[in-house]
C-alpha cells in the first residue's frame, strides 16, 4: 500500500510544478508536473541499488513507497549489509560485483550509495552501460573526477541525478521563491552551519573492515564534513544567488575526536567570497550541537532560514496592527485600522518574529541523523528519478548544481590544506557557472 502522506505530498509537488513562478525558481521540477506524474501511472522503473549500507537502506525504505518503482537488484561487497537489504526486497537479485549488475539488461536505473571515493568510477561505468543513474552526493572525491563525470554526462543521453534533496524540499523551494520575489530585499550574505556532537563512527565488527565501514573518516574515500554536510548547504547558496564564489579561504582541524585514526577534520570554517564582495560563512563541527543546522540567507530586509522553514523581517509590521487598535481604544483615537497585509504601522521590534515559509506545521530536519531525515526532499528526488527512468527525461540543472556544490566543497578542503586564499580554478569552471 502506498503511504498516503507520501501520496499527498507528491500531489502537492505536482501542483507546485504547475506554477510558472515555481519553475523559474526550481526548473528541475518541470519533470514532476501532475500531468507527467499521471503519465507513468501503472509503469514501473526497474531499479538496482549499489551500496546497501545505512543510506542505501534508507533509499530502499523510500522505494517501497514509490509506486512507479520496482527494486530488481542489490549489490554490496559487505555481505551483512547485502543480507539486510535482501530482507527488504527478497525478490531482488543480489550481486557482490557491480560490474556484473551493470551487465543485466533488465535494469533501467541504478542508485549509487557507496563511499564517496567510488562515486565517479561507478557512475561512469553505469552511464557507459546505458543505465540511468542516481548517485548520492557529493559528486566525486576530486575535481578531476567531477569534470570527467560532467563531461561524460554531457556526451550521453542518460538521466543522471544527485541526491541534493534540498532542491526537492518544499520549504526550500518556497523559501527561495520568496527570496526571488524580494521578500528579504537584496541578498547581502549567507551563513550556513551544521553542528553535531557525535564521533561520526559506525560500529565496526572487525578491524579489517574499519576503512570500509567508517569510510567517512578517511581521505582516500571521503572529503569529511565539507563533502558530507556542506555540499547540501553550499548548493543552496548557489541556487539562491545564481552565482559562484570566486575566492575561498578556510581553516580546519581535528580538535576533539583525536583518539582514533581519523584523517578528516572534525571542525571546519570556510569563507567563500563572490566577485561582488558578498560572502558565504560556513562552519561545521561535530563536538557541540548547540547551534544545530541552519541555512541562513541574509537580506537587506530580512533573513530566510531555509533549514528551519522560518523567516524574519528587519522591519516587521505583522503584529503592530493589533497594538495600534489597542492604542486607539486607550487613546480614544478613531482611525482606520489597517488589515490584511503588511500595512500595519511599523514598530520598533525588540525581538524578531518568526514567520513560517509554509503555513502550518512543516517538517524540519534538525540535522542530527547521520543517515537521513523524513520528508527532507530525498523521497521526492528519488521518486522523480524513478519517473525519469521510465520517461528518459532529464531533470534540468541537477547535475550542474551538484557539480557546482561539490567543487565548492573540494575547494574548501583545498583552501584549508593550503592555508591560503585560493581562486576558483579556471579549468574546473563549467558554462553553467556565473562568477
Amino acid at each position: 500500500m502506498t503511504d498516503p502522506s507520501r501520496r499527498s505530498f507528491m500531489r502537492s509537488l505536482g501542483v507546485l510544478a504547475g506554477s510558472a513562478a515555481v519553475l523559474s525558481t526550481a526548473p528541475w521540477l518541470a519533470s514532476c508536473s501532475a500531468d507527467k506524474q499521471a503519465a507513468v501511472t501503472g509503469e514501473r522503473a526497474r531499479i538496482a541499488l549499489i551500496g546497501t549500507g545505512s543510506r542505501g537502506q534508507y533509499h530502499l525504505h523510500n522505494l517501497k513507497l514509490i509506486p512507479h518503482s520496482e527494486v530488481v537488484a542489490l549489490c554490496d561487497i559487505h555481505q551483512p549489509h547485502l543480507d539486510e537489504a535482501s530482507q527488504l526486497f527478497p525478490e531482488a537479485k543480489t550481486y557482490t560485483d557491480y560490474h556484473a549488475l551493470l551487465d543485466d539488461p533488465d535494469i533501467d536505473g541504478v542508485i549509487i550509495a557507496t563511499p564517496l571515493g567510488t562515486h565517479a568510477r561507478i557512475t561512469l561505468d553505469a552511464l557507459d552501460a546505458g543505465k540511468h543513474v542516481f548517485c548520492e552526493k557529493a559528486m566525486a572525491l576530486t575535481l578531476d573526477e567531477c569534470k570527467e563525470v560532467y563531461e561524460r554526462y554531457k556526451q550521453c543521453d542518460n538521466v543522471l541525478y544527485y541526491c541534493m534533496q534540498r532542491m526537492y524540499d518544499e520549504k526550500y523551494i518556497r523559501g527561495v521563491q520568496m527570496i526571488n520575489d524580494g521578500l528579504i530585499g537584496d541578498v547581502v550574505g549567507m551563513r550556513c552551519h551544521w553542528f553535531r556532537n557525535a564521533d561520526w563512527r559506525r560500529d565496526c565488527p572487525d578491524p579489517s573492515l574499519e576503512r570500509l565501514i567508517n569510510w567517512r573518516l578517511y581521505r582516500e574515500t571521503s572529503g569529511g564534513l565539507m563533502t558530507e554536510l556542506a555540499s547540501h548547504q553550499l548548493e543552496v547558496c548557489s541556487w539562491v544567488t545564481g552565482k559562484m564564489p570566486s575566492k575561498i579561504m578556510g581553516m580546519g582541524d581535528i580538535i576533539h575526536w583525536k583518539h582514533d585514526a581519523r584523517e578528516v577534520y572534525d571542525t571546519v570554517n570556510v569563507v567563500y567570497k563572490y566577485s561582488d564582495g558578498r560572502t558565504i560563512s560556513y562552519e561545521s563541527l561535530i563536538s557541540n550541537k548547540y547551534n544545530g543546522m541552519e541555512d541562513q540567507i541574509l537580506g537587506s530586509r530580512g533573513t530566510m532560514n531555509l533549514a528551519t522553514g522560518l523567516y524574519y523581517l528587519e522591519e516587521d509590521n505583522s503584529r503592530s496592527g493589533i497594538k495600534q487598535l489597542l492604542s486607539s481604544v486607550r487613546e480614544s483615537v478613531f482611525s482606520a485600522i489597517p488589515a490584511a497585509g503588511p500595512s500595519w504601522r511599523p514598530e520598533t521590534a525588540d525581538a524578531y518574529i518568526p514567520h513560517s515559509i509554509l503555513d502550518g506545521v512543516t517538517h524540519v530536519n534538525n540535522g542530527q541523523s547521520t543517515i537521513g531525515a523524513d520528508h527532507d526532499g530525498s523521497e521526492d528526488i528519488l521518486a522523480s528519478f524513478c519517473q525519469a527512468c521510465i520517461t528518459g527525461e532529464r531533470a534540468v540543472n541537477v547535475v550542474e548544481e551538484a557539480y557546482s556544490a561539490t567543487a565548492l566543497c573540494l575547494l574548501g578542503n583545498k583552501a584549508i590544506e593550503e592555508g591560503t586564499t585560493i581562486d576558483f580554478p579556471d579549468e574546473y569552471k563549467i558554462p553553467y557557472m556565473k562568477f
Binding site: I322, S328, F334, I337, A340, P342, S356
Partner: protein
C-alpha cells in the same frame, strides 16, 4: 494553540491572543467587560476553536480531515457528527459559487455519505482543505459566543485576513479597517465594520501560490487581492476566495446567491 490574555482596567478592555491556531494567529478584543467575564468568554471561544481544529485542520496530524485525506480510495471512514456537518456545509457552497469555492479541490460531486457519520472516499481519493471555510466558521461561532455573553462591542482578527467588528470602537461608529496592497502598501479601500465581517484573499510577496482554482487545478498567481464585507464571516470568506478565481461576469451571477453582502472588490 498557545494563548495569552491582557486586561486594560481603565478601558474595561479584554484582549486575548493565540498563536498556532489553524496555522495562523488570532486576536480578540472585547470592550466594556470585566476580566473574569472576558476570561470565561475566551475560554468558551477557545474550546470551540479546539473542536473545529480537531476536526477540520489540515495542519494537525491527528485531525479528522487529515485522516480522511489519508484514507485509501473507496474506503469508508467513520467521522464525527461535527465533521459531517462541517463538510456538508462547506460542500454546500460549491453550487452557489458555480464551483469556484470547493473544499475538495474538484471532488465535491464524488463525496458520498453512507450515513451521517460514514464517509465513502471517492475512487480518486480525497483532498479536503477546509482552510478558509474553517476560519470563517470559527469567527462566526466566536461572535455567537460573545453575543450570547452580552457583548456589544468587540473586534476579532483571525490571521489578518478574516476580521469581524461587533458594535463600535469607543471613539466612533463601527470599526474602521483599511485594506492595503501587500505589494505597494497603498491603501486600496477602507471599510467600517459594524456587526460585519471583512475577509481578504490574495497573494502577498511572502506567500504566493497558495490559492488553487478548483476548476483548473492551477495556482492563482500574480498580484491579485479580493475583499468582501458581509454580515457573516463565513460568507465573506467563501466569496473572497471565489472572487479570486471568478471573472467579472461570473461574480455578477454569483453575488445574488448570497444575502447580506455589503461590499466587494477585486484588485488586480
Amino acid at each position: 494553540m498557545k494563548a495569552s490574555t491582557d486586561y486594560y482596567h481603565e478601558n474595561s478592555m479584554f484582549h486575548a491572543s493565540a498563536t498556532e491556531v489553524m496555522g495562523t494567529r488570532l486576536d480578540m478584543v472585547i470592550l466594556g467587560i470585566d476580566r473574569a467575564k472576558g476570561d470565561l468568554l475566551w475560554q468558551q471561544c477557545r474550546e470551540r476553536l479546539e473542536q473545529l481544529e480537531a476536526v477540520g485542520s489540515k495542519f494537525k496530524a491527528d485531525s479528522e480531515t487529515t485522516a480522511v485525506n489519508r484514507a485509501e480510495p473507496l474506503s469508508i471512514v467513520t467521522v464525527s457528527p461535527l465533521f459531517g456537518q462541517l463538510l456538508t456545509e462547506a460542500i454546500g457552497f460549491r453550487q452557489p459559487t458555480r464551483g469556484c469555492f470547493d473544499v475538495t479541490l474538484g471532488s465535491c460531486s464524488a463525496v458520498e455519505f453512507r450515513s451521517p457519520v460514514e464517509l465513502v472516499v471517492p475512487a480518486s481519493g480525497l483532498t479536503i482543505d477546509l482552510g478558509g471555510y474553517l476560519k470563517g466558521r470559527a469567527v462566526d461561532d466566536m461572535m455567537a459566543v460573545l453575543k450570547s455573553g452580552g457583548v456589544t462591542d468587540a473586534f476579532i482578527d483571525f490571521g489578518g485576513s478574516s476580521i469581524m467588528g461587533i458594535g463600535s470602537h469607543p471613539a466612533g461608529k463601527g470599526w474602521p479597517v483599511s485594506v492595503t496592497d501587500p505589494y505597494s502598501r497603498r491603501v486600496l479601500a477602507t471599510f467600517s465594520l459594524r456587526d460585519a465581517s471583512l475577509s481578504t484573499s490574495g497573494n502577498t510577496p511572502a506567500y504566493n501560490g497558495h490559492i488553487v482554482n478548483p476548476a483548473t487545478g492551477r495556482i492563482v498567481s500574480g498580484n491579485r487581492l479580493s475583499a468582501i464585507v458581509a454580515r457573516e464571516a463565513l460568507v465573506a470568506e467563501v466569496l473572497s476566495t471565489t472572487w479570486l478565481v471568478a471573472d467579472e461576469q461570473l461574480r455578477r451571477e454569483i453575488l445574488p446567491q448570497f444575502e447580506n453582502v455589503y461590499n466587494e472588490f477585486v484588485y488586480n
